[in-house]
Symmetry: C2
Subunit: 134 residues, 2 copies
């Protein structure tokens, strides 16, 4: 079912500082900040040759990563995203196997305009997994 | 400096269960367990089309991930590994920029037989970063 690793998302306490660090200290190809008000985040993508790092910073009062940064003030890896061909079939198979899809269990349109779902970290080794249909 | 994302390492509380889950529930290509006694871990690689997931389980009494699993009993993402061409040049550049290389600051031979170093998570958004020379 899962295909490529689409991205690793890292929540950061200072977006400009994190972008500078990846650009200057780690020598990576760092994009411009993009506000995603519907998802409560500002993101910066770092393009690696085989995948992406997504830096996440809270936007607005109801950001889903605000609580994460309160618990992890230095920041931390927030989730990893695997690509799938068919998000509805993936959701059915996962729930049949007893895995919990977050929210109402149905795929939503994610921050990249594609259908996504998130799996409960307690069911997957403490790892928040996003599945994105590509 | 950094190139491909070589792997994402996930510490897991039950290696066989995690392998079964990635194989059966997530439909991934899961390898056989490999003991790495010099590094205090048993690892299983999951081959994705563009990178790898490395499942980590403690081996022996001095495993470097034992404390991590005590703090995170469900497991969690332990580190991410970026590839570099020249580990010694990378170490010099990083320490010149004020980043802390764990241990004595010198690259070591890692679990895959290649020179590696680890960067202090507090300097990198709460993320433990491994650099591996390929």
């Amino acid at each position: 079912m899962i295909g490529r690793l689409n991205h690793v998302a890292i929540a950061v306490p200072d977006l400009a500082a994190a972008a500078d660090q990846y650009r200057e200290t780690l020598g990576a190809n760092v994009g411009a900040p993009q506000d995603e008000p519907d998802h409560g985040v500002t993101v910066i993508f770092i393009e690696l040759p085989n995948t992406k790092i997504e830096l996440l910073y809270p936007l607005g009062d109801n950001s889903p990563i605000k609580g994460f940064l309160e618990k992890n003030p230095s920041g931390g890896i927030h989730h990893i995203c695997y690509e799938v061909d068919d998000i509805d079939a993936s959701a059915r198979k996962l729930t049949d196997k007893g895995a919990r899809v977050l929210g109402d269990g149905k795929p939503k349109i994610g921050a990249h305009g594609k259908p996504v779902l998130f799996l409960h970290p307690k069911d997957f080794n403490g790892t928040l997994i996003e599945l994105e249909q590509v």
